[in-house]
């Protein structure tokens, strides 16, 4: 069993006990514990089940590399699944639960998968679920849905807050072990702006546990002094609990600070996402120990050797009373010494190497421990917990020599530098034969904006696994400022790579050698993939799911590709690694969202009349970042009824539309007319001052991009209206051409959209309302259709455009934005006797469709040219050039077979669904029905009391009166007749009064 030792534990404070629960069971730990050490201290080794076979899973590691021990943490608005217990600090009152089992952790139905392992080989997703087809839907999917997936999705709204922060530094050092500290000291002394970040809550990394001495002091003491020195340097910033998640182009570094995970609910943001720019990055990210592949290496109680000594030294937790060490290197002997020091039993060290004569093995022998060189593990005994180990010769096939009783196994297959950050932005690796590991290749680093190296790996992250080398390396890399610290640690004899234990293990054993613990990928799976032709490591990864779990293969990758290389009979570097991608460890969605939630998820644009709309029942419609009233709901009224009421009011009397969102761009200068002639398909330079003209803009590819009314304000000034969503885009478009193509033309542009409030006053009584306000002559003779006038209207400085999008007598009036609300109120008061009715965007849309006016985004979709919409009248024949003209001359643009705009009238008066297609005879090359048209706008018209639609139909304008079939849902077909798209007031008499 695992227990809390009575003495020791450099990171815990026994005077501060902390209570927590696991699956409802009350347990106790101390301040300074991780959830992992607290669980182990409470004898809870079994913490979860694996993904595929639902095998019992215990804690394997002590840090970010932990593949198994994920729990659901917290409750309600603070519940979060998949929290790694090895990197989660214990806090008082923590509520935790195990995952991926049903109905309980101890008795799990899904574990039957384990007995059926023959049916779940590599690539089982692709093989098993193929046939018969119906089986997926009715058999496999329900089972997979029930039993797959890690953890539960939180259901409550997140109670915590998150934030972004920004940091800038000459040098960011990632990792606060002795290498990182050494580098920070040197760079700090040089006066560089330095950030030193460490993912755990403690400085010093592994050195204090591994018995390193620096400058004659125990590592702990040196670390304390180093941190104190750094804290005094104003140019150095130190951050604990901050993990460098990813390194990107030009020194852009994302760091994830777990501000308040260990103090939930204390009012601070839970996580902070640092968006940093680093002049240079040093990765002092250390190394991760590799497991060994022997049968049963996934049984709870089998742990990394380094983790075992971490638990003893850091948290005074013994993973077992009797721990057998299995190794291929000297470092693991440190674990034996730590265990012995704590008074625990080490029945044997099983060393795969033919001999072990270094200082560390000799020290262990001197303590009376059996050291079995040339041996290996044939098999681990036990199911939910290790009960013993069956020993064999490493060189053989696994014949059992003896069984050693034990309740824990500490394994070490050597170390791999953490090269993730180094690799994220293109840094390359080299294979280090001596240590059987990939390490950063200093000749091929990631480069920055200046073409020079952007990253330097230092310390064990650079392959300097011994403390003395690591510290010297870091000091030099950081400019050798000040005295170099001198580290001393025990000498180590060479390790010997062991990828399978024992060497000659047969299929039965290989089927129980786990590579990826979380995803249940075994040695046999990778070998099968190789036999089936998967030669690329990236393909093998996807096929077997090796390294695809939430730990991203931190333990499994090197072992997996070594097995793959062996199966492919090639050297490991020839196989290469899979791509290292950010984030290094998972970061919370909350941190990514930051403050962008609720009201500030995105900034909203509001017109000066917004508050009035809100109070008066506005049913909002998002239009870009604007919110516009779709309609105004009266008490007890539905949306449909409101829209119809609004339309009838305008057609019979008068209505008001807040049109402030329309884009308004001033184009001014001696060459403004020439410029607009290039931008619009029609002629704008000939427009008389005081007049308005409807204009179309196309892309260079000929397709319609925007439309709107242009007014000529003076000899050299035009005001261009754009669609609501188009203002910024069109302004940018204008600037693009002015700055990059016609830079010698004398033209200025200004986007003045938000400078004006604009109101459409539409309906037969519109003129009467304006006359009541008084101050301007708005009579037919004084102010004709498509003209604008400036003056004072009801005391407001106003520019009045006589334009109509509804087909009614209509004025659009612009006033300064600051006076918009007062003007709106004045219009309401003046219109009261006429029953003036504010209307929303839907009434506007329907009325324009009744008039056959096109709408950008409805009739256009980026493939429609003006000619398709019968807008030839708005295309100048005189101009030699305009944007899109050359494109519209292409053969397929002038083809008579293009679909063209028509009106559509259903035979039964119903409304055709939006986007419905008209079918033609025959089928195409893919066996699908041929099409001859589609619906682009469709509404119920309260004016005409029937469904009306517009659509694009092949040869449409030549087929008036023809009836088309529009198949809709459930085999139903709607029949619609091709008609003129102008449904209402074809002669324009209403708007011309």
């Amino acid at each position: 069993m695992s227990t809390r030792l009575s003495k020791g534990g450099r990171l815990i404070d026994r005077s501060k006990p902390m209570g927590f629960t696991f699956n409802g069971k009350r347990m106790q730990g101390y301040q300074g514990d991780t959830l992992a050490s607290a669980l182990l201290g409470a004898d809870q080794m079994l913490v979860g089940r694996s993904f595929k076979y639902h095998r019992p899973r215990g804690i394997v590691a002590s840090g970010a590399e932990e593949p198994n021990a994920l729990v659901g943490l917290g409750q309600g608005g603070r519940f979060e699944p998949n929290q790694r217990v090895t990197t989660t600090e214990l806090f008082d009152g923590a509520v935790t639960e195990s995952q991926n089992h049903w109905p309980s952790l101890d008795f799990d139905v899904g574990a039957v998968n384990d007995k059926l392992y023959k049916f779940f080989p590599a690539g089982f997703y692709y093989k098993t679920f193929m046939f018969p087809r119906a089986a997926w839907k009715h058999v496999f999917e329900p089972i997979v849905r029930q039993s797959a997936g890690l953890g539960k999705v939180p259901t409550a709204r997140d109670e915590d807050r998150y934030e972004y922060a920004y940091g800038f530094a000459d040098l960011v050092i990632v990792g606060g072990g002795i290498a990182g500290l050494t580098a920070a000291l040197s760079a700090g002394r040089k006066g560089q702006r330095v950030w030193l970040i460490e993912q755990t809550a403690h400085w010093g990394g592994r050195a204090p546990v591994d018995g390193v001495e620096i400058d004659g002091k125990p590592a702990d003491e040196w670390v304390r002094t180093a941190v104190e020195t750094l804290e005094k340097m104003e140019n150095v910033t130190l951050r604990l609990r901050t993990m460098a998640s990813g390194l990107y182009d030009h020194g852009y570094l994302l760091a994830y600070e777990r501000v308040a995970d260990h103090t939930p609910g204390d009012g601070r943001p839970r996580h902070r996402l640092w968006r940093m720019r680093a002049g240079h990055v040093m990765t002092a990210t250390g190394a991760i120990e590799r497991p060994l592949s022997f049968a049963g290496n996934d049984v709870p109680g089998v742990m990394l050797a380094s983790a075992v000594r971490d638990y003893v030294a850091n948290w005074a937790v013994s993973p077992g009373d009797r721990t057998v060490i299995v190794t291929n290197n000297d470092d693991a002997y440190r674990t034996a010494l730590t265990l012995l020091e704590a008074g625990l039993a080490v029945p044997a060290v099983i060393d795969a190497r033919p001999e072990a004569k270094g200082a560390l093995p000799e020290a262990v022998r001197a303590r009376g421990v059996r050291v079995l060189t040339g041996h290996g593990v044939a098999k681990v005994k036990g199911a939910k917990r290790v009960t013993g180990v069956s020993v064999c010769m490493q060189a053989g096939e696994g014949a059992e020599i003896e069984t050693i009783a034990c309740d824990a196994i500490a394994m070490s297959g050597g170390w791999s530098p953490v090269v993730h950050l180094w690799s994220h932005c293109g840094g390359k690796l080299t294979w280090d034969e001596d240590h059987a590991m990939f390490r950063p290749d200093p000749t091929r680093p990631a480069t920055g904006a200046d073409g020079a190296a952007m990253v330097t790996a230092i310390g064990s992250a650079n392959g300097m696994l011994r403390a003395a080398d690591a510290v010297a390396d870091a000091h030099m890399a950081a400019g050798s400022e000040g005295t170099a610290p001198k580290a001393v640690s025990a000498e180590e004899a060479p390790m010997s790579p062991v990828w399978i234990m024992p060497e000659g293990a047969g299929p039965a054993l290989r089927m129980k050698m786990w590579l990826d613990y979380q995803n249940d990928v075994k040695v046999s799976d990778v070998q099968l993939a190789a036999r089936e032709g998967y030669e690329s490591v990236e393909h093998t990864k996807r096929y077997t799911t090796l390294g695809m779990a939430t730990d991203q293969g931190k333990l499994s990758n090197i072992n997996g590709l070594a097995v793959l290389s062996d199966a492919l009979h090639q050297a490991i570097p020839a196989t290469g690694t899979t791509t290292f991608r950010p984030p290094y460890t998972p970061i919370s969605i909350g941190a990514i969202a930051g403050e962008a939630r609720g009201e500030i998820f995105q900034p909203l644009r509001k017109t000066p009349m917004h508050d009035w709309h809100e109070v008066h029942g506005a049913h909002w419609e998002p239009v870009g970042q604007w919110r516009r009233p779709y309609c105004y709901l009266r008490t007890g009224e539905g949306v449909h009824d409101a829209v119809n009421r609004e339309i009838r009011a305008i057609r019979n009397s008068v209505g008001l539309l807040d049109a402030s969102t329309l884009g308004k761009i001033i184009v001014k200068g001696p060459d403004a007319g020439r410029f607009l002639d290039m931008l619009y398909t029609n002629m704008m330079s000939t427009l008389a001052v005081g007049k308005c003209r409807y204009g179309l803009m196309c892309t260079e590819n000929g397709f319609l991009s925007d439309d709107g009314v242009v007014a000529r304000l003076s000899e050299d000034t035009w005001l261009c209206h754009t669609t609501t969503g188009g203002a910024e885009r069109i302004h940018g478009w204008m600037e693009d051409w002015l700055q990059c193509e016609w830079w010698d033309w004398k033209v200025y542009t200004a986007n003045v959209t938000e400078e004006y409030a604009q109101v459409a006053v539409a309906g037969p009584n519109a003129r009467k309302v304006l006359e009541k306000l008084g101050g301007m002559d708005v009579s037919k003779d004084a102010h004709g259709f498509m003209e604008w006038r400036e003056g004072t209207l009801g005391g407001f400085r106003a520019r009045v455009y006589r334009i109509s999008f509804s087909g009614e007598l209509s004025y659009e009036i612009a006033v300064p934005a600051s006076e918009g609300r007062a003007f709106w109120d004045a219009l309401l008061a003046a219109g009261e006797e006429f029953g003036v009715t504010p209307y929303g965007t839907e009434a506007m849309h329907i009325m324009r469709a009744e008039k056959g006016f096109i709408m950008i985004g409805d009739e256009t979709d980026g493939t429609v040219i003006p000619q398709d919409l019968n807008l030839q009248w708005a295309i100048s024949k005189k101009k030699t050039d305009y944007l899109g003209k050359r494109a519209q001359e292409r053969s397929y643009m002038v083809s008579p077979d293009r679909w063209k705009l028509v009106g559509l009238e259903t035979l039964d008066g119903s409304v055709i669904p939006d986007g419905a297609y008209a079918v033609a005879d025959g089928v195409n090359a893919n066996g699908q029905r041929n099409m001859q048209g589609r619906v682009t706008s469709t509404y119920y018209s309260p004016t005409l009391n029937k469904g009306i639609a517009m659509g694009l139909v092949k040869h449409g304008p030549d087929r008036m009166g023809e009836v088309l079939d529009f198949p809709v849902d459930d085999g139903k077909v709607i029949k619609a007749r091709i008609v003129d798209p102008v449904f209402y007031d074809k002669d324009g008499e209403k708007q011309n009064v």
């Binding site: 182009d249 852009y252 720019r277 073409g451 700055q739 830079w743």
Partner: protein
């Protein structure tokens, strides 16, 4: 995420402040051009692995379009310059040639 210095306002702008505009130094072909010329102008882009000239707009800054020369493979930035020119500045071309002797020029 790139940083490019805006040659107008001098700000070292992060990519989030910038709007990309594709390949620089394209010659516009309008009415009267052949189908091949127009097609090339409209659709053919170099997309090199190496030295590339690009259009960027300091959209959330001064609003100006500028041009940048950078390596698409290493992300090295050779320089940025105003958009009001039909070819890269001579000294920038010389600098690129010095750093990338095999570079065949911007055309």
């Amino acid at each position: 995420m790139l940083t490019l210095e805006c040659p107008y306002c001098g700000v070292k702008a992060e990519e989030t402040e910038l709007q990309p505009g594709g390949e620089a130094h394209l010659k516009r072909y309008g009415p009267g051009s052949t189908d091949e010329e127009f097609d090339g102008y409209m659709f053919s882009r170099k997309n090199p692995k190496g030295v590339h000239f690009e259009r960027w707009r300091h959209a959330y800054g001064c609003g100006k379009w500028f041009l940048a020369a950078r390596c698409t493979a290493t992300l090295e930035v050779f320089g940025t310059y105003p958009a009001q020119t039909s070819e890269p500045p001579a000294e920038l071309q010389a600098k690129i040639k010095a750093k990338r002797p095999n570079w065949e020029g911007y055309k």
